[in-house]
Symmetry: C2
Subunit: 294 residues, 2 copies
């Protein structure tokens, strides 16, 4: 299969759905809807929603059923980026080559746009109702609330902030990565599977895949902050070093970090061995992300 084609096709579907599920820019108050849409349509890879879809397909489900949940995952991801970029947090001026939300709309509006996206995401998920069992939506809501909350993604951001300028060890670094990025990756993949009625065994395999993939993704992010091309990345590199952030290259060096990422990608693919050809997109995505340069 051609994973690039797959990613491109699904990205288009996700973006059309995002446009459909978000309030229009003419809804009052206009400025907040502009701000929400500005960041949602600032050009992400849509990895999380595509993982929801690919995971659904891997267990015999289909894209149409899980599309609202896929979009909710992207909205939650986007809210987290808007808030992470705030002056009180990482204080970043650019993301994906564009000024960050608060640089365009001001801090107050950026905080509120993030809040609104997070709030909206939980409503959008209920649009899966009627297509799948309400009980599985309930399970997804519970998992997602945990994955994005104080013991998940927010918890990772907390530890990241607390660790700035401090020396931390490999275990603490893994905590940050597993929570900041890993939890939402895991939730994306489990969401697609749960809504598609995956059995226990398949859900476990996909969960293992998700955990390896999430960690690899973050290690590669750290590597790209050192070696990446600013133009391709759409943001300044070297910002982690400047902020004395804990990263894999800082802790293990570049070569060892590359090795670790490669190992995680291999483990991700290995986790899918009990799943048939339906999981090919997930395999392809893992190998593709292992080689990404932006």
């Amino acid at each position: 299969m051609d994973v690039k084609e797959y990613l491109k096709a699904k990205k288009e579907i996700v973006e059309k759905a995002l446009d459909l599920y978000l309030p229009g820019e003419d809804a009052e108050p206009k400025i907040i809807h502009e701000a929400m849409r500005y960041s949602v349509f600032a050009g992400g890879k849509r990895i999380r929603p595509i993982l929801v879809i690919a995971s659904a397909e891997a267990v015999g489900g289909n894209e149409e059923t899980v599309l609202p949940a896929a979009c909710a995952l992207e909205m939650i991801h986007t809210y987290s980026l808007i808030h992470d970029d705030l002056p009180a947090m990482d204080n970043d001026d650019y993301r994906r080559g564009k000024p960050t939300n608060h640089k365009v709309f001001g801090e107050a509006m950026a905080i509120l746009a993030g809040d609104a996206l997070l709030t909206h995401a939980f409503g959008v998920i209920t649009r899966c109702s009627g297509k799948v069992d309400d009980s599985s939506i309930m399970m997804v809501l519970r998992e997602l609330s945990e994955a994005a909350g104080s013991m998940g993604m927010v918890g990772g951001q907390v530890m990241d902030i607390l660790s700035e300028g401090k020396e931390i060890n490999g275990e603490e670094l893994q905590f940050i990565h597993r929570h900041k990025t890993g939890c939402l990756f895991r939730a994306s993949i489990r969401t697609g599977a749960i809504l598609s009625g995956a059995n226990h065994e398949k859900l476990a395999a996909l969960t293992a895949y998700a955990e390896h993939l999430g960690l690899a993704f973050q290690i590669i992010d750290d590597i790209l902050d050192v070696t990446g091309n600013e133009k391709k990345l759409g943001k300044k590199t070297g910002s982690d070093i400047k902020k004395q952030k804990a990263t894999y290259p800082a802790l293990y060096g570049l070569e060892k970090s590359r090795e670790l990422a490669k190992k995680e990608i291999e483990s991700a693919v290995e986790s899918l061995k009990g799943l048939g050809a339906a999981a090919d997109p997930l395999r392809g995505i893992a190998l593709y992300l292992g080689k990404r340069d932006s």
Copy 2:
């Protein structure tokens, strides 16, 4: 019935449940759970969760069934206060006589504590599952997402911020109040009723009650900012005037504002005329809130 006793008893039940549903302070990362709990337990009146319960009772439901949803409403309310108090927003140092969240935990942690409370709230609601139909929980989730989102509470805060230092008319002021406070009041009362299987007629009556009550509550808030006792209120009065905020007293004067509040309270009680004695707590709450001085 003794409304003060009722409010006191329900407040205790709500606070016990909040303690149960929130992650403990020893959960990692500890600081975020301290921050979340600091604001949740900073001494609110618990009006919204009590309205969820009273509304459930008014249509023959019971407290135990709706308690998770009641707590979720309080968590959403608390998150909105934490974010509203931020320097980029209203920049308030005190609330309920205590330093605001960001004054104690710093801006980054306050933003994250708000995010985490909002995220957690949507997970807590799913705890109603098993006690009531999943389809009614789905309806509540959808309504709550709307009520708290960019076209509800967040939308009200947006308009409030945009209107600072500007002259606005009565219609614009109503928009702010109806959204900032009204939407969550309305959602609280509808949540209790929906989860208790209220029929269409009763739901409509309770919705009307909620809309009048929410508006009265906000008008009285505005009045207290002018006339209130700082010690009782636990915050500095006169802050609306200082920030040139649009308020009822600023627009209509104190006397006319008091009249408007009284009329809304009367209309709230009048809305319940088709409901029997089970709605007495709601009637009592309206009259009580109409006379509040803090």
